[in-house]
Amino acid sequence: MRFLLRRTVFYLVTAWAAITVNFLLPRLLPGDPVQAMITRFQGRLSGDAVQSLYVLFGLDQNTSVLEQYLSYWGNLLTGDLGLSFTFFPTPVSEVLGQSMPWTLGLMGVTTVISFGLGTVIGVYAGWRRGTWVDALVPVTTFFSAIPYFWLGLIAIAVFAVNWQVFPAAGGYPAGMEPGFSGEFAGAVLYHAVLPAVTIVVSSVAGWILGMRNMMVTVSAEDYVLVAHAKGLSQRRVMISYAARNAILPSVSGFALSLGFVVGGTLLVEMVFSYPGIGYVLFQGVNAKDYPLMQGVFLVVTLAVLVANLLADVGYLLLDPRTRREAW
């Protein structure tokens, strides 16, 4: 328990540092969001309006950086991330709230599928090394070596343009009203097939390769030989002795990749115009939308930290050697 507590404190400090950097970053960058806004409205803003925009974005020249920092924290804790320029005057938190489920749904599910599939294949390939299963390794590695945007575009060209079996873009049909209906859910799944499959295809090789190699290493350990000598069934030896130990490095990798679920979607969502966080970030960067970018960065940072904490907890559960006396 003390170990977890120490880790939690560590992550809290890291989160504080990350949020502070997040606060400083746009203030250190050249360019000024309000100026960008003024340009957008082509000078049709009065001096008062400009000043109130500065205040609105927390960039008031009359307040010190420290005051800005404190009010930034105050706003953060009340869930106020400011207003987005791109989707002005929608609050950033609302923009994030709308795009988050799409990203989590697509990337979260595909990451889990990719990890599960890759691990199972990897366990089997490692256990039966030297057989035909090994052929899966170069084949899947080939697909993961292809740059993702290219793979995505080819998938669109083949399955959405030539054959027209799947839609090319979007998270749901343009005319449909989002809601909790079976029809809508079906449409969402249908639209998710192409991006999901391309993600799994391009990421599964890493899990297979890692798991296979660990299985090969672990299979040479004495305790696996002992398990054979004990007359346990092949299945039992493979799962409880070999795979159980071989999976440990993959688990931390998996937790970390869960952290990147939120952040690593830029390419996918750009290629498939998927209405998730990455697509929003892409639009935000184009529009110099500092509050939106800050919001996305904040969410990504926190997700990575939470994933790290999950990795620690997972390791505690899976590997007794990491448990200290106090546990």
Binding site: Y223, L232, S233, S240, R244
Partner: protein, 320 residues
């Protein structure tokens, strides 16, 4: 009466022959010591007998008779049931022989799960406690993980595990190599007490000749994948006949009796890729003759209890 009979066993690693046409008999209730330098094939022999040889090891020929079965041609499922029920192994290096992520209880219970599926859980647990008690470990250690135990305790757990199903044969492969001298003795003495009480036979593999002489009934000395001398422990210790066995004994200090100078064996173990012609030991042998470089001596009895593979012996008996 013999419990295990190995006949003509040969094992290859690729093109290397690691075990060469070995005959070995394990009598009921005896401790058979297998000795030899690193790479002499003693562990390979033990793993081949139980078909646990990791790839690329391949058994080329031979039979291993146990209770009328040939272990080497047994169907996988039969072999699986026979393992641990009849032949258990205490492995070398207590450090890695236990699964680091499973508790002692889980690993002991696994044995019953695989071999005594009808045994009720309470009885299995009781048996686990009894086994730990047998090897002198407190039964409340059942919930411990291997990293929470000392090296000696881990080796005791391995012994407890080996005895779980009361096997006929226990193969001990360098069981005490990773332990300090005091612990080695304690564990071996305990093992021998258990053997006396439970009556299993032991194949004891080590390169520590002094331990071997003390704890074995009979010793087989291996060199370059062959058994070169086989004799009762005491007579081997008093007067080895094969020059290699003499050298091996001469390179360890005597536990008892007068001091004698320590001699090593000149040269190093043969490279299995380039085994010398004739007797593989002849380049290191002080008494090598012309015939030794040309022809390989076979293991043959020289008296009622002793077999030697050496031209010196054969010539003494006028065999060639």
């Amino acid at each position: 009466m013999s419990v295990l009979e190995v006949r003509g066993l040969s094992v290859d690693y690729g093109t290397l022959r690691a075990v060469h046409d070995v005959d070995l008999t394990l009598e009921r209730g005896e401790v058979l010591g297998l000795a030899g330098e690193s790479g002499s094939g003693k562990s390979t022999l033990a793993y081949a007998m139980t078909r646990l040889l990791p790839p690329p090891g391949v058994i080329r020929s031979g039979t291993v008779r146990y209770k009328g079965f040939d272990l080497l041609s047994l169907a996988p499922e039969q072999l699986r049931t026979l393992r641990w029920n009849d032949i258990a192994i205490v492995f070398q290096g207590a450090m890695n022989a236990l699964n680091p992520v499973a508790s002692v209880a889980t690993q002991l219970l696994d044995v019953f799960r695989a071999h005594r599926p009808s045994m009720p859980r309470a009885a299995r647990l009781a048996r686990c406690r009894e086994l730990l008690h047998l090897v002198g470990i407190s039964p409340d250690r059942l919930d411990s993980y291997p990293h929470q135990l000392s090296g000696g305790m881990r080796q005791r757990v391995m012994i407890a595990m080996a005895l779980a199903l009361e096997p006929e044969i226990v193969i001990m492969d360098e069981p005490t190599t990773a332990l300090d001298v005091v612990m080695q003795r304690q564990i071996l003495e305990q093992m021998m007490e258990l053997r006396a009480a439970l009556g299993f036979s032991v194949v004891f593999i080590t390169h520590d000749i002094s331990l071997l002489v003390e704890f074995s009934d009979r010793i087989a000395i291996m060199y370059s994948g062959r058994v070169v001398e086989e004799a009762p422990a005491q007579s081997l210790y008093r007067a080895a006949r094969h020059p290699y066995a003499t050298g091996l004994l001469g390179s360890f200090p005597a536990l008892r009796g007068p001091r004698r100078p320590l001699r090593g064996i000149p040269g190093s173990p043969p490279d299995l890729r380039h085994v010398p012609s004739g007797c593989p030991f002849h380049p290191r042998c002080a008494s090598a003759m012309d015939v030794c470089t040309a022809r390989t001596p076979v293991l043959a009895p020289v008296d009622q209890h002793r077999s030697v593979a050496c031209w010196l012996e054969h010539e003494n008996r006028g065999a060639t």
